[in-house]
Every structure is written in C-alpha cells, then in structure tokens.
Symmetry: C2
Subunit: 300 residues, 2 copies
C-alpha cells in the first residue's frame, strides 16, 4: 500500500541534558518517512528552501522514500526550529521558530502522488490539511496531527477537517484543550464525537491511548533508561503506526493495536539520539526485537 | 493464605472538584483491608483514639477483616488528615495533618497474628516498619510502602528496611527521590539494587510499572471518566495486589502481573467515590467484570 505524508522538512537546533546540536535534519515529514519506510515505501510532500542540501536526503531513496514531492522554494529558506528540553524532558521549550518557506506553504500534490492508500497529514494549519485531502482520491485511512495553536486560533477549520479524517493524533494537553474535558478519558470520547473514528492520544513517557467507538486501548511507552532528544517522537510514532497499517493491509481495530505498538517502538528509537539519527539508524532486526520485547512488557 | 496489614485508620476531610466531605473513614489499613478482603481474609493492626466509633468497622467482620488488632489508645484521638485535590487531581495538597495516636504508635503484633503469609507494611516510619518485621515469623512476601518524608529524613532506616522486604511500592516522585535518577526506568532499576526483588511504581492516572531482576512490566490505569477522590488509591492498589497474591498461592512473576491488574482494578473502584465508599461497595462480580474488561484494554 502507498503511504503519503504531507508535512515539514526542517533544520532543528536542540538543547537537551545530553548536549547541544545545531542544524539537525528534522521536520515532521522526515521523522514520519524514516519511521514508516521501515515497513513500506513512502511518498513525501514538503517545502524546503534553496539553502537545503538535497544530498542530505539522497540516502532516503534506498529506504524507499520518494522525495520527488520535496518542493524547493525559489529564494526561500528552510523552516528552522530551536528548542530546549530540561529536567524530565516532558515538554519542549521553543527558543525560536523561523517558519520561512513553511509559512507560505500551499501544498500541491504531484499527480503521481494523488492516490495514496494511507495519508498522514502532519501538523500544519487545518485548512492546509483540508486542501491536501481535496487534492487526493479518498485514501483508505487518513491520520491527522494537530497542535495547541490551531485548537486555540483555528477551531472552526480544525472541526471541519475532523469530519473528513479517520484518525486524529494529539497529545494530552491538546486533547483536553480540544474537548474542554479535564479528564483524559472523557476527552478522548468527546473527540470521537467530532468525527474521527480513531483518536490516538500521545502521552510521551506515559505511553498512548486509542479511543474508538467500539473500544479503548492503552499502551505504556517503551521503557528507556536514557532519552537524548524527544523531538520527533510523535511523528515517528505516526510513521511506525501508518507503516504497520500499510504493511498489514487494513485498518481494523486489531491492526490498529499492533500498529500502535510499532508506533511506540519507532518513537523509542527516535528519542534515543539527536534529530532523526535514532530513527534512521534503527534496523529492521532491531525494530522487530524491540517489538517482541515490548509485547512481553505488557503481556499478562 | 493469611494477609496482615499494619498501618493507619483515620478520619479524612476531603475537598475535590466533586465536593467536600468531612470525617470520612480513611487510613492505609482501611483501604488496604477493604480491597484485599475481596480475595482473602485480612488481619489488621492499627491504632485509633477513644473518639473512634468501633461500629464503623463492625461491618468489616462479614467481609473477613479481623479488627482484633485495632488498638484503642486510652485518652488518644484518631489520626486525622485534611486534603484537597484540584484540576487534574494528580496530587493531594495537604491542608492539615493531626497525627494524634499515629504519632506515638509502636505496633505490637498480637500473638495470633504473628504468622502471616503475606504482610503489607503501610507507610509509616521505616524503623516502625522494621519493628513489625522483627515481631513476625518471616512471611512469604512482604510489601512495604513509603513516602517522600522518610526518603528525605530517614534514609538510613529506610535502606535498612529495604534489605528485608520483597517488594517496595512507591510513586514516581518517590522513586526518583530514592534513586537519585530522573529517568523513571533508571530509577526503578536502581532501587532493585537496594534490596527488594520487586519494585512497583504507582503513576496514578498513568498506571504502574513493575521492576524485577528478570523483567519489566507496565500497565495503564483503568480508564475512568470521572475521579471523585484519589485518596487511598495506592493502598487499595496494594490491597488488590496482595489479595490476589494470597488467593493465587504464590508470588511468581506471572502471579505478580495478574496481581497488579487486580491492584489497578481495586484502585479504580476506590477513586470513584469519597473515602472508602467506592472500594467498600465494589462487589466480587463488579471486580471480576472490570478485571476482564481491563484485559481487553491492554491486549494486543
């Protein structure tokens, strides 16, 4: 099955208790693609500036990531994000955001990419996400990410989007904000009423929840003794999840549970190193070993 | 198998978003006994004051809780705790603590209670916990609770205790404080080195971890749409866990995993109502139904 991600490619500057790194390859589409390509070929649509050295993503071809949809904006500069993690590293502190080419990005999906089986709408303005949906033949499963900014400032556009997606991925705080419910279980149920048939709540080191009309499902995070850089954990989770769904062939609830384990495993590799280095380095063998190990961690 | 708990019986005043209640029956031994008695008979040792109306615990006999070890301290007043929960209710804010008879409690285990198969040392001064261990024939499994106060002020006594118990129950913050590790997984592993062969970390709404020399195990919390009063969740968890171990006959790692699910279920009943009302009202049928439901929530 064909997987398409529309999102960002970025340069990230990261400060964490493990050190400081500048100009790391980052962005939602990068993390997602690297995670999903462990399972299935991936098409990527994202903007970069003229400053972006395309040889950075040349090795991705061998992994089955087609970067034909990487749009080099003439005269533009690549999106750059600088962030800091401290203490228990539960939340990033944004030092600086330079949207650059991302600020004016109106994705045009190339004709060859308009029939994805699975589509991941990485976090951007909900109207932009909707415009992507309008350009593609209805995929089997559409998963959207969002953020607190859009929930606060673009609620109507977001609510419209939610009527057209199959799954919504968001973190605890966002789930509470979107639903108006303080209790996270109540929040998940309330969001189901807004349209998606699957709501995945990411809880960082506390794992994840899946809400659907028929069932509730909960997973812990993969237990890591050391987290180096949590950036991209959510997009890597989404990549493992969608890759697993693509390789399994269908988005049944059983498949979604297994896909969430793969998402959990992908996220664990992502946060073990700076930037995309961890998820890029995770071999099929290492991923499978961690998947099996994880099943032991949660079996009763 | 015989289960003994040494802890507190208290009056609690609780403020939560669900309302305000005064003079609720509380205390670690109360929550523990009510949860464990769903599985097995329980003996309780705890001090109360002359102000304690013994008819409050008279109905416990029918549940298999033997209150012969309830020590009425002449001229004493019952331990009283006033606390408040706000917002996401993750932590209690203590308004007032009146230790009263608990402040001078030196438990004397009645001769008939000195051969428990399982022993729960509820949270008190670690030297007091050790004195209980010194009075009983070595049980098959000893589980101890503790708190931030003892970790900070009585570390040596606590470290001595840890060399003599099988399991330690503590929350996230306490695990970090005791181990000096910020990462919770590293913390759990470090605490194993201090003596216990099982370390159970309670994470409230985020579930629980089990660390042992051989394995790691993680569970989410039971998903509740509404939490009324989190007081006693940890002691109810311990009660369900130890009750399950007692009824199963052994503390194998497989039995511990199932016992943690029972602990999770017990805690979920406890927090659904004020004081001990929730755990006291949970029928065997309701507990079994929630246990089976929970297995579905976490099965992959």
């Amino acid at each position: 099955m064909k997987v398409l991600v529309v999102g960002s490619v970025a340069f990230d500057d990261i400060e964490s208790p493990s050190g400081t790194r500048e100009g790391l390859l980052g962005g939602s589409a990068s993390y997602f693609s690297l995670a999903a390509s462990g399972f299935t070929p991936v098409d990527l649509v994202a903007p970069v500036g003229e400053d972006f050295p395309l040889d950075l993503v040349a090795p991705w071809k061998e992994r089955g990531i087609d970067t034909a949809g990487l749009e080099v904006v003439p005269g533009g500069k690549t999106f750059r994000w600088s962030g800091r993690y401290r203490g228990e590293m539960n939340a990033a502190e944004t030092i600086r955001t330079e949207l650059n080419v991302l600020g004016t990005f109106r994705p045009k999906i190339p004709p060859a990419l308009r029939t994805p089986d699975l589509l991941f709408l990485a976090n951007t303005h909900p109207a932009t996400q909707t415009s992507v949906l309008d350009q593609v033949k209805r995929p089997r499963f559409v998963l959207a990410d969002t953020m607190n900014l859009w929930i606060e400032t673009e609620r109507d556009a977001l609510l419209r989007l939610l009527k057209s997606v199959d799954g919504l991925l968001l973190n605890e705080e966002e789930a509470r904000m979107l639903s108006g419910e303080r209790n996270l279980i109540a929040a998940g149920k309330r969001i189901l009423d807004l349209g998606p048939r699957a709501v995945v709540v990411k809880k960082g080191e506390h794992g994840s929840f899946l809400f659907s009309a028929y069932e509730f499902f909960a997973l812990p995070a993969y237990p890591l003794v050391r987290v180096v850089d949590p950036t991209g954990a959510g997009d890597s989770f989404a990549g493992g999840l969608m890759g697993s769904l693509a390789s399994g062939g269908a988005a049944s609830l059983g498949a979604l549970r297994r896909a969430m384990v793969h998402g959990t495993v992908s996220a664990s590799f992502a946060v073990e190193a700076f930037g995309t280095e961890g998820i890029a380095a995770a071999s099929a063998k290492a991923r499978e070993a961690r998947y099996q190990e994880f099943l032991q961690f949660v079996s009763i």
